[in-house]
């Protein structure tokens, strides 16, 4: 039901730091209709060309300054992911995505208090890396 908010168009890009590509990044809106503390994010899964990315390569951030592992995020109850604002998702992998086309899949869910199951969505986008 929230698939439309998953994986912001044109947001997938390699990330450079100190002249080296350290991974790639995608953005998404929340799969829910209000903002919630980051600790309530239930799952973030990324796949590239049908290969799932290991969980510990994923980092998430609300401001691109402070990054959390998914394990750390489980107690990040003081940062709110606002409705309509991006969550930045980085996959730390030296070299990032190779030049060319890729099918990048993002699947994400949050678990609000009164839901019987997590509220999520997923989306695969064909991404061109130059």
């Amino acid at each position: 039901m929230f698939d439309n908010y998953v994986f912001t168009k044109d947001s997938c890009k390699n990330v450079e730091a100190d002249g080296k590509i350290i991974g790639f990044e995608i953005q998404t809106l929340i799969t829910y209709y209000r903002g919630i503390p980051l600790s309530m994010v239930y799952s973030v899964e990324v796949g590239v060309d049908s290969i799932p990315v290991p969980r510990d390569m994923i980092r998430i951030s609300l401001d691109r300054k402070e990054w959390f592992t998914l394990s750390e995020a489980e107690t990040v109850s003081t940062y709110k992911w606002e409705y309509g604002e991006p969550l930045y998702i980085r996959i730390l992998a030296e070299g990032g995505l190779r030049k060319g086309e890729h099918d990048v899949r993002l699947s994400i869910s949050v678990w609000p208090a009164y839901y019987p199951m997590p509220a999520g969505g997923q989306r695969t986008r064909r991404v061109a890396i130059e």
């Binding site: 039901m1 209709y33 600790s39 107690t75 409705y83 309509g84 678990w111 609000p112 009164y114």
Partner: protein
């Protein structure tokens, strides 16, 4: 003549807001353009940092309310009891959160908060003094799927009656009065492979004057098994999901509302799809308003457009048009 007043829940325009097609100020302008007096808010949706917004954010909100001269009807709040995945928050922790929501609602200018369905009734008595102090009433949402007969709501209603305070009541969501299953939902699930025979089966339940919860004998929250012929129609996970979600529309007789009229603080004017004839496809607003008038209801009905979640991938949600049509319909039946 009807005493009912019109409002809009900004939830209805959430997609316009999230995708930045409308700013909060744009939304206020639209309420003026559409001649909607009352505002309902989800503070977690459009107030940054809620329930602890900065003073600047609170000022921004109050300035908009004043500038566009709107009435603040209700703020919808949630208790994040699933804050940590290793445990559910304790009642004591939840009480503190509720108090913070009461104070925030007061600061934003509200005197009513909507408690989401399944809010624990044990929060009520400990929060009552704060509700009184800040003059903010608390009202549980009676939502289809978790309506009068469900276990959690039932416990809340008993506690509400026991405490008997003007600061505790209910908000009724019109989704409990569905005569038909929303066709936008059916259409949405079709793209993922919904079995049309299953959808027909559910439509037939409504056509027979019932709803899935009642028909399957699950009204009290019990997981009664599906009838054999229905189960046979569940071919894939989408069918299963559709069946589960179909229990989120109820065909409640209006009369069930009667005993709770003294506690009725506010109404969600749920709409899934406003037709070109300016009627809600599923909910008989004309009859509902007649019933409410006959009981002397003089509160608000706030348009709550929820068809947004059934818009097909990459199609544009038109919350504005649905709100406009819903308000025109309300004007027609309320008389102004």
């Amino acid at each position: 003549m009807s005493q009912i007043k019109r409002a809009v829940s900004l939830y209805s325009l959430q997609d316009e807001y999230a995708t930045k097609r409308l700013s909060l100020e744009d939304i206020f302008k639209k309420t003026v353009e559409f001649d909607i007096e009352g505002i309902e808010l989800i503070s977690d949706q459009m107030i940054r940092g809620a329930p602890y917004p900065s003073e600047e954010t609170v000022r921004m909100w109050r300035n908009l309310v004043e500038k566009y001269n709107r009435r603040l009807v209700c703020n919808d709040i949630f208790i994040n009891s699933t804050l940590y995945r290793n445990r559910k928050l304790t009642i004591k922790e939840q009480i503190e959160m509720l108090k913070a929501e009461i104070i925030n609602a007061h600061n934003l200018g509200f005197s009513l908060i909507r408690l989401v369905s399944n809010t624990d009734e044990r929060l009520m008595e400990p929060a009552l003094a704060t509700a009184e102090k800040y003059n903010v009433a608390m009202a549980l949402e009676i939502h289809a799927g978790m309506s009068f007969h469900s276990a959690g709501t039932g416990k809340f209603l008993l506690e509400m009656i026991r405490l008997n305070s003007p600061y505790i009541g209910i908000v009724v969501d019109m989704g409990i009065f569905c005569e038909r299953h929303p066709r936008v939902a059916r259409n949405y699930f079709r793209q993922f492979g919904l079995n049309p025979e299953l959808a027909d089966y559910i439509d037939a339940i409504f056509a027979g004057g019932s709803d899935p919860l009642r028909y399957f004998g699950r009204l009290n929250g019990e997981q009664a098994p599906y009838p054999e012929d229905f189960r046979a129609l569940i071919k894939n996970p989408v069918d299963r999901e559709y069946a589960i979600f179909s229990e989120g529309y109820e065909n409640t007789p209006f009369e069930e509302l009667e005993q709770y009229m003294p506690y009725l603080k506010h109404i969600h004017g749920k709409c899934y799809e406003m037709t070109e004839e300016y009627e809600e496809y599923s909910i008989p607003y004309k009859e509902a308003i007649q019933y409410l008038d006959s009981k002397g209801y003089d509160g608000y009905i706030a348009t709550e457009y929820e068809g947004n979640r059934f818009v097909l991938l990459d199609e544009c949600v038109d919350g504005l048009e649905n709100v406009r049509r819903h308000q025109e319909m309300l004007k027609k039946y309320i008389g102004r």
